[in-house]
Symmetry: C2
Subunit: 431 residues, 2 copies
């Protein structure tokens, strides 16, 4: 039902590697298809987007205008929500907004005795694109999580794209877009939507950065346009790692593992605990609760293929493994989580203590739910306001400063064989 491992097993490291292994295959067919689509959109603009949308989304319209969702329709979707749902969306939106304001970065400047002033200025991106997948991975919460950091950063224009196969528009997604203040929505998707956002067409404006998850074609297209525009991390399957000291309710832990596993069959749920008896109790909870889950089949595949209950020697070893895995979501489901926290170096989001469950973070605690997956928390961060701001170095050198620095620069420039650099510096020192 779920893999059982112990760090004392002779083959533990190998088995862990196999469990963690997930590399989006670089499918040559996908690469060629994406390359062709991008070329087509660059060459033919709107006409290519219309043709590709007809082919892939069975949506046959005569102009891009018909693929744009009017503001009024977005507002109607919001107004049409049941009161409880609208209230929940508003609470979530406001908490996410409020949390993210603390990520705003500030200009800074330092002055030197000779009048030289150095610093950095922080400015928002002009225009960004948000990709929202169609079908079952089309989540209103993700619209908020992608759009709100951009809004807080001060991005002037947010363009959302979301494929609507057969023309069916997801009202919850449109409502979330209206609430988050998305400026324009186009019902296009796939590599053609990424290409249109990166290069612009007659009717679709080019953006400066594209964020949001998508299928293999979308991921490959983002990788291809990287450099022309900014992109966020290419997302892998979602993961949770729970560290338990056996102090929590096994049903809670089982349900937390389910919440990850229900996303899709490739999602990963792992529990680390030093207590074998407790692991057995969690396994019993899994067996008892699984049949009550509407998504039991997806959960079962995910737990069988990629899930694990791992018996560790002690909590220190659990932290070591957690740092190796660098999980997207880490739950410290222990009596004294503050004692473990300093030992954790790598994780996207850390849920501290029994009440801090991932599901609250996914929707409304405030922090972003777009997080680094596949061990990338070793080097990257949750999506944030900082992804929608960029910095410029500001360099104000005084005449006295130039006189002092020019000989240093010239010495190094001559050492590198760059005489124009040296002369350019020396001019400023009156040489």
């Amino acid at each position: 039902m779920i893999n059982r491992l112990a760090t004392s097993d002779a083959d533990f490291r190998q088995r862990l590697e196999v469990l963690l292994a997930f590399e989006a295959a670089l499918d040559a067919g996908v690469q060629q298809a994406v390359s062709d689509i991008i070329s087509d959109v660059r060459a033919r603009g709107d006409a290519a987007v219309l043709d590709l949308t007809k082919r892939f989304d069975r949506l046959d319209v005569g102009s891009i205008a018909e693929l744009e969702v009017p503001r009024a329709e977005m507002q109607r979707a919001l107004d049409g929500l049941p009161a409880e749902q609208r209230k929940a969306l508003e609470v979530a939106c406001e908490r996410v907004r409020s949390y993210h304001t603390h990520q705003l970065q500030q200009d800074w400047e330092i002055s030197e005795a000779d009048g030289t002033r150095l610093g950095q200025r922080v400015t928002p991106l002009d225009r960004v694109g948000i990709y929202v997948p169609g079908g079952k991975a089309s989540y209103p919460s993700s619209v908020l999580m992608n759009a709100m950091p951009a809004k807080v950063a001060g991005v002037a224009e947010i363009i959302m794209v979301a494929p609507t196969p057969g023309g069916e528009r997801n009202q919850l997604v449109l409502a979330a877009a209206a609430l988050a203040g998305v400026d324009r929505v186009f019902t296009i998707g796939g590599a053609q939507a990424v290409a249109a956002l990166a290069y612009g067409t007659e009717s679709i404006p080019a953006v400066d950065k594209i964020v949001g998850p998508g299928n293999a074609y979308v991921a490959e297209a983002k990788r291809r346009v990287f450099g022309r525009v900014g992109i966020d991390m290419v997302a892998g399957p979602s993961e949770v790692l729970v560290i338990s000291d056996a102090s929590g309710d096994p049903d809670w832990v089982a349900m937390d593992l389910f919440a990850q596993a229900e996303h899709d069959e490739r999602a990963q749920s792992i529990l680390l605990c030093p207590d074998a008896a407790y692991l057995a109790r969690v396994e019993e909870s899994i067996a008892r609760l699984l049949p009550t889950m509407p998504r039991a089949e997806i959960i079962a595949v995910s737990l069988r293929e990629r899930g694990a209950l791992i018996q560790v020697r002690d909590l220190d070893e659990a932290c070591e493994i957690a740092n190796y895995i660098a999980a997207e979501h880490l739950e410290l489901s222990v009596e004294d989580p503050e004692a473990l926290l300093p030992k954790i170096r790598h994780a996207g989001a850390i849920f501290i203590g029994h009440w801090s469950v991932e599901a609250l973070g996914d929707y409304c605690a405030g922090p972003n739910h777009v997080l680094p997956t596949g061990r990338s928390a070793r080097f990257s961060s949750p999506l944030g306001v900082y992804d929608f701001q960029k910095r410029s170095s500001l360099i104000r050198i005084s005449q006295a400063g130039a006189a002092a620095l020019a000989p240093v620069a010239a010495t190094l420039a001559y050492g590198e064989g760059l005489q124009a650099h040296a002369r350019s510096a020396e001019y400023r020192s009156g040489k």
Copy 2:
């Protein structure tokens, strides 16, 4: 000798586009070669690196140990520098270090009335790799600019790779590595060095992020391993944009354009000025000074192919064009630069006033010289300490907080059809 444009030309926008156009061709041969090299290094580790180094760098050794530069040799390189050069390198290193300390990001936390605490923790990467090109683009200043932000961030281990075709080691580069506190240096390069750093071999440790410029093979390899490790921006040719109000010495401006152009034939130097007579004077300075330059041939090609003197209507129009170009280096070579500064939204580094010349920034002013190229300053930032730190969300929800948030999360989770999420939240509210 250099292109002359005016914004009043009917075909100005087209000509500007042609000048700016630079897209590293996605060469199918390079892609295949890089793919093969990465597979080989992953499969055979050290043995593959040794074979490839023999093939590409004509360096035939029996073990990776022979390709590692001992600490003592790095220190000898530093001790062997002429006094003036050593002093210049030390001044530059200390100024770069000092400037970058201001980029350190801090943890933050907010507390709510019900005891819930939310925040972010900032931690350094464990281990990073710095790629230093061989041959004529092997600059000691770049070693400092890549290594110092990582040191300031608190990265525990910095691994440098630098190819040494034929076995010749660049003493200035080794001296800079010693001064910057690089931990280990391997004399390997190309896609095989990137693959070894990304995946690790028996003798070369896997890193968490790879930074630094390289040729087409290195760039493609970085693009391929992106996700497995972090990478910095894929760098294009270097550029300078000068905005002049005709108040500066034309020789200074000409030399600043040369300093960019001497890097390589594809480097780009553009001057914007409303005064046609001044543009003519700069052209005259170019003609007069060019023959005095040791790198005159490279400069001539760069100015002819990619350089331009552009007459603008006024300084406002110059700022508009500057925002479109989003230059790596922007010099405000004007009487009142502070009046222009608020109008500039996009640039990697802004050099403010006549004394603030790029050549000082390249070596020793303090800000980083690794900057976004090819219009990417629209969405990205100078290399900085923030590239070597990452954030984890910290989520501490109190019992009362969980009771308040669980219904919100559950409502949204049921709306998305994710029942395990809903139940996992509801457990925490006693439901």
